[in-house]
Amino acid sequence: MSAELIQDQSIGNIGNDYSQYGFQDKEDYIFKSGRGLTEEIVRKISSMKNEPEWMLKYRLRALSIFLKKPMPKWGNCGLLDSIDFENIFYFVRSSERSEKNWDDVPEGIKQTFDRLGIPEAERKFLAGVTAQYESEVVYHSIREDLLAQGVIFLDMDTALREHEDIIRKHFGTVIPAADNKFSALNSAVWSGGSFVWVPEGIRVEIPLQAYFRINAENMGQFERTLIIAEPGSYVHYIEGCTAPTYSTDSLHSAVVELIAKPGSHIRYTTIQNWSKNVYNLVTKRAVAHADSKVEWVDGNLGSKLTMKYPAIHLVGERAHGEVLSIAFAGEDQHQDAGAKMVHAAPNTTSMIVSKSISKNGGRTSYRGLVKVHPNCPGSKSNVKCDALLLDEKSRSDTYPTMEIDEKDVTIEHEATVSKVGEEQLFYLMSRGLTQDEATAMIINGFFEPFTKELPLEYAVELNRLIQLEMSGSVG
C-alpha cells in the first residue's frame, strides 16, 4: 500500500476505535431462546426450521457428545474454562425469512448492514451476498448469470430444505460432531451459514460473500458452511464478521467444511473483526482431491480469544493447499491461530505463511501441523511464520509440529520473532512521518503478502483497521 494512501487517511483517533462496528441495535426479535443449552432448545431449533428427522437426530447425538467431551487441555485454558455455557442465548430469530432485496429486510437490520457498507460492496464487486444477523440469514442474493449456470449459493437452512440429498451426503463428513468440543456444540445448535455448490467446470470469477453480525449480548452464533466445488470449478468465498462491544461475552463457534473435487479450486477468505468480548472458536477443514487447490486466507483482528487452525487434507495426487494468515492481538486479546496440512497422497504440496503482531499486552500464538503419511513420496511443504512484538508487555508463541512418515519429502519450516526495526522507523521518521505513521507503514509492509491476496476494497479496509489499531500505541 502506498504512502500516499496511508497519509490520506486520518489517524486522529487515539486508542482502538471500533466505533464503526461496535454500535448496538435495539433487540427486536421474533424469537429468542432462554439462556443455556438443553435438549429442549435443540429440539426447538430443529422444529422451528422444519428440519427432517435425521437432522434432529444428528443434533441430539452431537449434544450428547458435546456434554461428554472435555474442554481442550491446550491453548488458553484459563479463558476457555471461563466460558459460561449456561449464560448464552443459543438461538435468536430476528426476521421471518431471508429476503432477496435489501428493501425488504427489516428496517433496523438493514440500517445495520448499511452502516457496515454491505449493500454498497455488493453493488460494486460481489457475485452474491449472504447477511446473517444473530442465528439466521436475513438477506440473500446471487447474480442471475450464476444461477443460470447452476451455481447454488444459499443459506444453509434453505439449502437443507431445497437440496436435502446433497446436504445429507456431505454434511459432517469433513468435520464430524465428535471432532472437538466446539464442533460438537455447533453440530447440536447450528443455524445459518452458507451452502455453495459449483457445478463441474464452472468458474465463479467474482467473489461470493457472507457477512456475519452478532447483535444481542451473550449471543451464541453457530453458523455452518459447506462448500462443494465439482471437478474443474473455481469459487472464491469471503466472510466478514463484526459484533457490538458489550461488557459480557458472546460466543462464535462455526464449522466450515470445504470439498474440492479433482481439478477444482476453492479460495476461502476471512476477515474476522469481532469485538473484544467474543470468543471465536471455529473449526475449518478442507479435503482436497487430485489436482485440486484449496486456499485459506485468514485475517484475525478482533475477538477476545480466537482458536482457529484451518486444515487441508490433501487426499488426491498433486493436490495443493495454502494457508495465508495474519493475526493482530492488542490489549486483552489472544489470537491462537495456525494451520494444518495433512499430506495423504503422492506429490502433494502445501504452503503456510503466518504473520502476527502483538501489542499492548496482546498475545499471538501460531499453532500448526504438517503431517505426511507413509507412501506419499514427492510431498513438499513450506512453512514460514513471522511475529512482531511492539512492546515489552506483549507475547508471541510458535508451536509447530511436523510429523513425517515418508522418506521422499521436502519439508521446511522457518519462524522468526523480532521487534519493529529501529533503523526502519528512524528512516521513515526522517522522511517526515510520525512514529505512528511509520509504524503503521512498516506493519502494512509486514502484512503485505496477505493484503495483496485480498480484493482491493478489503485491502484498503484492512489497512485502515491496522492504522486505527496502531494509532497512539507506540512510543
Binding site: I65, G172, T173, I175, A178, D179, R285, V287, A344, H373
Partner: protein, 103 residues
C-alpha cells in the same frame, strides 16, 4: 500366503451393535457385530492412533471415540474424516458358535 485363522471369541461375546477388542498375534483387533454379521478391523484409528474398539458402531461404520472419524467395517474405507487413510480389515468367520479371525 493364506493367513491362519484363530478362534477369538464365541458369537455370544459380541452382541449385536457392539464391539469387542481381542489380541491376536500381538495385534489388537476390534470385532464388530453389525446386524448379526461379524467383521474384524484394526483397533487403531489412522488419524492419531485412537482406540477404535472403544468407539460406537453407527450403521455399518465404526466411529473413533477421539475425533469422530468413521470407517466402513467391511472394507476399512474412510467414511468420515478427520482420518484419510483406511484401516486394516481381517477375515472374520463364524464357525458354529465361535468367531475365527485371520491376522
Amino acid at each position: 500366503m493364506s493367513a491362519e485363522f484363530s478362534k477369538v471369541a464365541s458369537k455370544a461375546d459380541v452382541p449385536e451393535g457392539h464391539v469387542k477388542v481381542y489380541t491376536v498375534e500381538k495385534k489388537r483387533i476390534a470385532v464388530c457385530n453389525v446386524a448379526g454379521k461379524f467383521f474384524a478391523v484394526a483397533d487403531l484409528c489412522t488419524h492419531d492412533g485412537g482406540p477404535l474398539g472403544e468407539g460406537e458402531l453407527v450403521e455399518n461404520t465404526i466411529e473413533c471415540p477421539r475425533h469422530g472419524a468413521r470407517f466402513d467395517v467391511a472394507t476399512g474405507a474412510v467414511v468420515c474424516m478427520p482420518a484419510v487413510i483406511p484401516i486394516a480389515t481381517y477375515p472374520c468367520e463364524e464357525r458354529g458358535d465361535d468367531l475365527w479371525v485371520a491376522v
